[in-house]
Structures are given as C-alpha cells and as structure tokens.
Amino acid sequence: MSQVAVKKETAKPLLSVNNVEVVYDEVIQVLRGVSLDVPEGEIVTLLGPNGAGKSTTLKAISGLLKTEKGEVTRGDITFMGERIDRKNAEDVVRSGMFQVMEGRRIIEDMTSLENLKLGAYTRNDKHINQDIEMVYNYFPRLKERTGLAGYLSGGEQQMLAIGRALMARPKMICLDEPSMGLSPLLVKEVFEIIGKINRDQGITMLLVEQNANYAIKAADYGYIMESGKIVLDGTKEQLLSNEDVKEFYLGGGNEERKSFKNLKSYKRRKRWL
C-alpha cells in the first residue's frame, strides 16, 4: 500500500480517478477504491490479470458503465477539472474523452470511411475531411479498403477503431486492449502508432493492456491492478526494474523462483494484497 500512497505529485492531472468503487447490478462490487492520475500529454498504462477491473475502470471513466447496469457508488472522477462520474457517455465524449472499447467494436456493416465519419459525430466544424486524410496518413491501409469494415482483418479493424477515435479530436483517448488478438508484428506496429499519435497530436492516453511488455515500454507511467484495487504503480523505469513485475507480467525473474520446486512460494506471492 505504501507505494500507492506516495502518489506522483505533479501539476494538476488531466484525469484524476479518486477512490472509485463500482458496483454492478447493485450487488457485485468490482472496483474497491481505485485511484489513478493521468497527467496531460502522457501515456499511462493500466495492467493486470483478467477480471482485475481494468475495463470497468475505463468504463467508469467514459460513462459506458451505465449501459451495463454498473454504477460508481463511491469516489469521484475528474477530467479537465470537471466531475464526469455522473455524466452520460455521450456527454463525456463531448467533453473530450474518447474510449476505444475492447474488441475494437467497429460498425461492421458500414464502410471504413463511414466508421471514420461517425467518429466525428460530436463535431460541427468543417475540418472533418482534412482529419480523414490525417487518419489515412497514420493508417494508409485503411484508404485502400473501401469495402465493409466487417471484412477488414483484426489489425485493420484495430487501426480503424483508433482512427475513429482520432476523428473525434479528443483531448484524451482510453484504449482498452488494443493488442488483443493481433499478431506480434501487428502489436508492435499498433503500439508504435499509439506512441506517434501521442507525440504528434499531444493526445493523452490511458492504455489498458494484458501485453505488459509493450505497454510499459510505450508508457510514461503505469499502474498495476488486481481484484479491483491498484496494487503497484510507478514510472516506466521503476516498473521495468521491479522484481514482482518482472516475474508476474514480463515473464522474467530469476531462475530460482521460476522453477517448479518453488511453486508454493509463487502461489503465495501471486497476489500483492
């Protein structure tokens, strides 16, 4: 807990999640007091095993929780100095926060161009066509694929999902497992583009990942979540050099702990809290 308590004190963060608890269906508690900060212009990653509550944290931020009978019962979420935990999903998007949901979730019976146009739904300015060109610059492959988006490959669909997020001209993008189901080569490509977008556009990113290796390297700061709590956080360097992170998330650690004989110790150490 001590590591959590000593939070990085910088200027006021763009997004700040404070002690948030989330309950689904009025009985199932998924988040048990999650706190995290995302400073402006940075990439922050949120790691953890299946069922830790990473996606729930993102949905609490983006307001999509309400579409799944989930509710923020305690704590608050502030984005650009404004409380967003009670807002509807569409109002959160309008305030400049865009979530790319897990599993890409593109509109499969529309073309990729129509998907991109939908990304700009909340905008009323005249620069939408310009931005479509910008997305094509990041993802030249999308321009060639004029058919239905449902026929795109997994990697192309992920690119389309990220491109669609860019079309909203958000201040911040929450990415839920962009590497899911992609080949290692594509994962590398997607992460490179995420870093590039962050640098070029100054878009702040909160990146939920299972692929810890890539995610930590792409990020400035990271949080690790288990069973609905943040159990560890630190800068990229701190996380990469942490023995527990190495062992549980990066598949490294010293040989002794990896061996079968020490399985008991592994099991005991498997959870921080």
């Binding site: 999509l64 509807n88 569409e90 949901m101 509109i107 939908l118 739904y121 909340t122 909203a168």
Partner: protein, 297 residues
Amino acid sequence: MNFELLIQLIINGLIVGLLYGVVAMCFVLVYKSTQVVNFAQGEFLLIGAWVCWAFLIYAELPFIVGFFLTLFFMAGFGVLLQMIVLRPMIGEPIISVIMITIGLSMFFQSLMKWIFGVDPQSYPQVFETQSFEIYGLNVEVAYLMSTGIALLIMVAFFLFFKYSKHGLAMRATAFDQQVAQSLGISVKSVFAMSWGIAATVSATAGIVIGLVNGVSDSLSVMGIKVFPAVILGGLDSIIGAIVGGLIIGVLENVAEFFDSQYFHIGNMYDIAPFYVLLIILWFKPYGLFGTKDIERI
C-alpha cells in the same frame, strides 16, 4: 383474357406497392433502430390524413401549406409518442411493448372516430386535371404524384442513411447501442428521431392515399397490409420492405383480376397477400432479405 385490364391492374399494383413499400420502410426503420414492432403504424397514416384534411377544410389552407404543416405536426407527434409512451418501456419484454403498440393502435383509431366521425371524407380538389392518357393507358394525376412522392421518399431515405451524420448515427445505433454511445451518439434522441421520421413519412403516404380514395378508417388497414410486405422482405431489411411492398401491391391486383375473371371466390384483393405470405414463410422463414438470427414474433 383482358390483357389491357391486366396491365392496368399491374401498374396500379406497382403504384400502390410503392406506397406499401414506403410504409413498410417506416416500419422497418422503427424495428431496426428501436427494436419495437409497431402495430400502430397504420394509425400514423390515418392521423396524418385526418390532420391534413382538417387543415384544408377547417382552416381552409392551400394544399401545400396544409401538407407541410401536417408533416411538422407528425414529426413532433412521433417524437413525443416515443418519449412519453415508449421510452419508459426500454428494456421491458418484447411482448409488453407489442401490447403497448396494439393499444396505441386501438386508441388512435377510436380517437380519430371520436374527433372526425365515422363517415369517410374526401379531400378538396387539388389537381386541375384528373387524368390523361399515355399509349392508351389511363393515368391519373394523383397516382402519378403518389409514385413521384414514393420514389422521392425512397431516394431521400437512401441519401439520409448513406451520407447524413444523423442517418449514420441511426445505423450505428441499430448495429450496436453501446458502441453508438461510446461515439457520443445519444441513443435516446436516435429513438425519438426514428419515430418522428416514421410518423412523418407514413403521414405523407396517408395524405397521398387520402387524395385518391378519401380519408376513412380503411387507411389504418394499411398498417396491417404492410405486415405481409415487411415479413416477406424480412423484418430488418429496408430494401426488403420496398420489394415486399411492390410484390404485395401487384399481387393483390393480379389476384383480384383472376378472381373476377375466372374463380369468383370474392375478396381476393385483401386475402391473397396473406396466402402468399404463408407460402413464402414456409420456404423462407426469415423473409426474402431478412437476417437469420432476428427474433420471431
């Protein structure tokens, strides 16, 4: 065999079929974007036709003014109906929602009878010429106008759903409501919009039919006639709705022709579409263009 009469009837069928297609399209629009089976679809035609009639007769407005006023009225009517009656039903079992729309249908039919009486009324003369001849075929101006309006509505639907921001948003909502919300689309306003559009467009069809046949209770029968068309085409296909409408329109006229010439069973005009519906559903349970996994009702 009287070929000239047959051709005339087929053309009539196509003209009426286009209107069926328009109404069926509205039905599909509401079903696709809000998952509501609207049994009160026919009442939209009825209300639209009566309201326009009232504008022309009581307020003595010129036809075009009354027509557009009716469209505005119906847009608001559809939106309010969704907001007040159907919004609280979101997430309720489909059977409850169906009961609600059947109730609405009865309510509005009775309401129209209460306000405007039970006698059919005819519209004032709108066109100067009634009909003219092309290649020996008798063409009524009203029919020509109805065809023009139906085609115009179909093209407008196509452009709206292909290019406009709100059309795309409606398609996105029909595909996946959660994704739509994540894009900043308000699902509530999409629902209201689709009811507004369905009411407005159906009212247009109601007025067009009213111009030809007069306004009466039989307009709401269109709501039932549209069922064979919609189910024939597949509940969730807009193209299917148009094709289904045309098939039903031609079918009832051809059936009537053969019946009057040879079989003399009577009343084939109304019954034939439903026979064909049965046969088609026998072989293609999801309709001609329907998606396989849609819910049966």
